[in-house]
Symmetry: C2
């Protein structure tokens, strides 16, 4: 199903989903569903038809993999000894299949190395990408870009500089607005703001900024 000509992909990685209802609302009806290894269980929990399963299958039990094969699911099995994580491979497959908007779910969890590696997939992605675990919704803004974030019940809005400095940060529609501010590593000025208008508007002069909605 195309939405205004766009091709939306949902990628499920093997990390945690902390609020399945919020993930369900964000996922909607994607055009393409790709599961990275153990992420298959999340897509199945949401009742989604899976287009592609990729991975080395170190986090998916053999029975689940056999069931997927029996169901005729397209599967790309990569060697355990590889240079890319399953999430990176899934993202590349989504782009190769024409996705022009990507939701990455289950990319964070108790393996902080995987969480951080997955966050760093965002700024290099050539199409808009959102990462979520249901308790946080992470987007990335680069030089000159602007993003609108609608108010959502209970949500904090946090800005985290991914480059050592992000300059020209302007935020309106929030409790603590900023006007041409600089955000730097080690300063937590941008954390736990609140959207007060119908939507916040965040824009960046130079640098790479994470825009995160988060719920306690």
């Amino acid at each position: 199903m195309a939405h205004g000509g766009r091709r939306r992909a949902a990628i499920f990685a093997a990390g945690e989903l902390l609020d399945l209802d919020r993930v369900r609302a964000l996922v909607g009806q994607p055009d393409l569903v790709i599961c990275a290894d153990g992420g298959l269980r999340h897509a199945q929990a949401l009742g989604l038809r899976v287009d592609l399963l990729v991975g080395d299958f170190d986090s998916l039990d053999g029975a689940a993999l056999a069931d997927a094969r029996a169901a005729g699911m397209a599967i790309v099995q990569v060697p355990v000894e590889k240079d890319r994580t399953d999430s990176q491979i899934a993202l590349e497959e989504a782009l190769r299949r024409g996705a022009d908007e990507i939701l990455l779910a289950g990319g964070s969890g108790t393996r902080l190395d995987h969480t951080l590696s997955n966050v760093l997939l965002l700024p290099r992605c050539p199409v808009p990408v959102t990462m979520t675990d249901g308790k946080s919704v992470v987007r990335v803004l680069r030089d000159g870009q602007t993003l609108e974030v609608p108010r959502a019940a209970g949500a904090y809005l946090s800005l985290v500089p991914l480059t050592p400095a992000v300059t020209g940060v302007t935020v309106t529609g929030v409790h603590w607005p900023l006007e041409g501010a600089a955000l730097r590593w080690g300063e937590s000025l941008g954390i736990s703001n609140r959207v007060v208008d119908a939507a916040a508007r965040v824009s960046v002069g130079a640098g790479c900024l994470l825009v995160i909605q988060a719920w306690d």
Copy 2:
């Protein structure tokens, strides 16, 4: 207690500790214990004497705060409407009190904005700092620095570039060694290595690299 003249501080933030025994071993007998708000419960779970409690006390219940006051604990209460997170304030207090080595525990959890903001406290810190939740041990390496990471049962060793590119990365003593490699955002080459010698040795030419031990 000084250790070879060093003054070691342990900071407990209000996030999650996923393996208390591993945290206990890393904390050891610190010279200074600072708790950021709800992080107090972690220090108490470890039976540590607390030198300072800081925060706006939005994540600590009133009874626990009253008990802390009654016990004569030094308390710095900051306004809820502030420009810094409790973790940043605790880190600055540790430095102000002469810490020359810092362990930040409980700085990660389900609030991904807080987790990322806390990770970004590391590269700006003027003394060596380690962040842990018991399932991951995060250190930072900058231009020209070298770090030894002893082999630990079951641990992965992951390298995550915090700047868009980290060059001249050399890793020895591991299953997949690197020699003068470049690590870039969006490439997950450095994830899930294994230490095979008594210790791995990681060095960085230019850039800022996270060196993470992680357990499943």
